[in-house]
Symmetry: C2
Amino acid sequence: MNTPAENTGNPAAHAPGMPVIAVIGDGQLARMMQTEAIELGCSIRVLAGAPDSSAAQVCADVLIGDYTDIGDLRRAVDGADAVTFDHEHVPNEHLDALIAEGVNVQPQPSALIFAQDKLVMRKRLGEIGAPVPRFAAIDSVEDAAVFFDEVDGAVCLKARRGGYDGNGVWFPDSREGLGTLVEKLLSEGVPLMAEEKLSFTRELSAMVARTPSGEVRPWPVVESVQSGGICVEAIAPAPGMSDEQRERAEKLSVSVAEALGVTGVLAVELFEVDGEIFVNELAMRPHNTGHWTQEGSVTSQFEQHLRAVLDFPLGSTETLAPVTVMANVLGADKEPEMSVTGRCVEVWRRFPEAKIHLYGKGYRPGRKLGHVNVVGSDVEQTRKTAAAAAHFLMHGEWDDNYLNKKEH
Amino acid sequence: MNTPAENTGNPAAHAPGMPVIAVIGDGQLARMMQTEAIELGCSIRVLAGAPDSSAAQVCADVLIGDYTDIGDLRRAVDGADAVTFDHEHVPNEHLDALIAEGVNVQPQPSALIFAQDKLVMRKRLGEIGAPVPRFAAIDSVEDAAVFFDEVDGAVCLKARRGGYDGNGVWFPDSREGLGTLVEKLLSEGVPLMAEEKLSFTRELSAMVARTPSGEVRPWPVVESVQSGGICVEAIAPAPGMSDEQRERAEKLSVSVAEALGVTGVLAVELFEVDGEIFVNELAMRPHNTGHWTQEGSVTSQFEQHLRAVLDFPLGSTETLAPVTVMANVLGADKEPEMSVTGRCVEVWRRFPEAKIHLYGKGYRPGRKLGHVNVVGSDVEQTRKTAAAAAHFLMHGEWDDNYLNKKEH
Ligand SMILES: Nc1ncnc2c1ncn2[C@@H]1O[C@H](COP(=O)(O)OP(=O)(O)O)[C@@H](O)[C@H]1O
Ligand SMILES: Nc1ncnc2c1ncn2[C@@H]1O[C@H](COP(=O)(O)OP(=O)(O)O)[C@@H](O)[C@H]1O
Ligand SMILES: [Mg+2]
Ligand SMILES: [Mg+2]
């Protein structure tokens, strides 16, 4: 802490009369907000950890600092019309302090807490009648044993805070395994909760944006395919849903946004079990399952997020194609010998319709390096194209059976 | 000249392993290239006249300098994988010098000359059999008088170089008027040409991208509506053309790109006269009549331009909607009292489907401040929405008859 911020702030980066949004965090979400800010004529000041981070690379007003340091936060938000986030990890006490000083923070910590703490989220969603798996606080090995029996051993243990991409989620398959894990994690000081492990048909994501004034617009619900806890694919709209099911999921996302006072973009991750839906978790920012909107929706989630946090009217969330598929580009175990531009060239040569989005990051196993969006009319064909393109970008070789091999 | 460049060059702005494109010029075209560079993971270094110019505002690697100064140009292109342009005004002798030094300039001066000098362009197009209006070099009042008679007084006088938005185009209505004008302009050292003033039905624009390797992809031909020499609206695809007419215009743009060795995006401005087409002029960069591609085409002209100058495979130019309309936002004589954000809010409240693009420029009469894109299915409805939105952004008041009042 107390890292002195290296302020490379640049007043020339901000257009006359147009709002400035301070974005805390320097990842690909902040980067893609900049893409949309440019077109809106707004501008972004990024609080970044490093000058060559994904977002800092592409912004003209970058402040290098630490998002857990109130001094750095104060410098980053100075003069901004709104403050928003690339991630959920800014300490809420700092946000409360900024709000007390008159800073316009969106979403507010009173909403953010439900994206930060999975137990607090589960309790609140239960209160508002949103469908959630059975769950319990786990403060001891005994709590764990009791819950294990309650759910007949179908248990999912979760770190309450700080998890991402499946880190912080465990599926112990015995009471003993659960006990050992709980004991270890509690002794490390990790606050825990458990929930019923659902045998879901698939995962869905219902995304919505809401403004401080209360305007709300959902996008169509999408199917999201995870592999090892990481989102690898999103299909928009989710195939095979009845109108009634779609509407139910969209209404759920709207009611969660309203009940929790969310502003900006909200992603409601869902499990589909025999046509019923249960909420998994919430994200209060643009989300991996919303990247398809860049090509597939009139208003992308990044533009909508900026408009929402500025309390501007929201844009149309109509789709531009019968189907849009997003496939993530993740670092493989071994970096391909072919250069990244060489891989792009091969992909584009074969698929002129593949929209490659890269985040400016160095190759590292498991790292989210980019994504590919493809719009189309046939679901399976579009999925195949997106998957084959993403696979080539990851591995430097074609594997057209990639889609069939993915865990579902 | 010899202005020392203030190099704010920022190595951290460039992603590992990804190409750097040096863009000469700091206007909205360079700005919108940055939007696409971010998503491609490439990066842009801008040679800008001022740190708060349209493009400099949004780029992380900005060099302040003078594009007519070879020293500034050298610094701007240092280490870049390709060099391209926001405008046509870089002296060709400097570009030749850079090429001799091994710099990858795209498009090359051997092609650029046809976008810089309207007489050279007319001659070359005539040679390759492209349909052009009758024309003549005007080096004296006598030349002008001879040509006036040749075209029965239907004369259009043009400055050979440096014209834009109708500056540098005159329609004298008498032989005397023409003579006086020619005398004045020649005495001021303005090189001139004249061509037949065509009574066109409408103006069209055929856009295409071409790579150094020779891949070519046209977009659908659009109708472009000018008012006072400035493009105010583009309708994509151009309504009411037969398949055969479309194909002829697209083929023409392809053959011009190939014959002239154009690389990057080429706009071929056309006049439609009784179903026949004639070439007006050429632009070798993204063009106002191609802004619709940001929302209406799988690949926008800005992404395509970057891919083309890097000799990457080109993207699909399929449309995403039955019709996309672009309406320009130009500064009116008087700046509205309502703030620019206030105007955006009103437009979005009424038209959630209106995509507003702003260039970060201060308000000035006649200045291109931004544009609005609207995708739709009904041509007249979509035109009305785009026009009403643009009108409000310009004037701060509604005028739904705006479209009908425009000169056609
Ligand atoms: N209760 C559950 N039942 C079955 N699978 C689950 C459950 N909770 C999480 N998962 C699986 O683990 C993934 C990651 O869990 P999640 O709580 O979303 O953590 P993260 O914060 O890492 O995204 C989910 O997308 C899902 O595939
Ligand atoms: N030969 C012509 N006949 C009729 N109108 C013309 C002719 N040439 C130009 N114009 C009109 O003037 C506008 C501007 O001319 P152009 O040569 O394109 O100049 P600029 O470089 O300013 O765009 C055209 O878009 C068209 O409306
Ligand atoms: Mg999750
Ligand atoms: Mg013109």
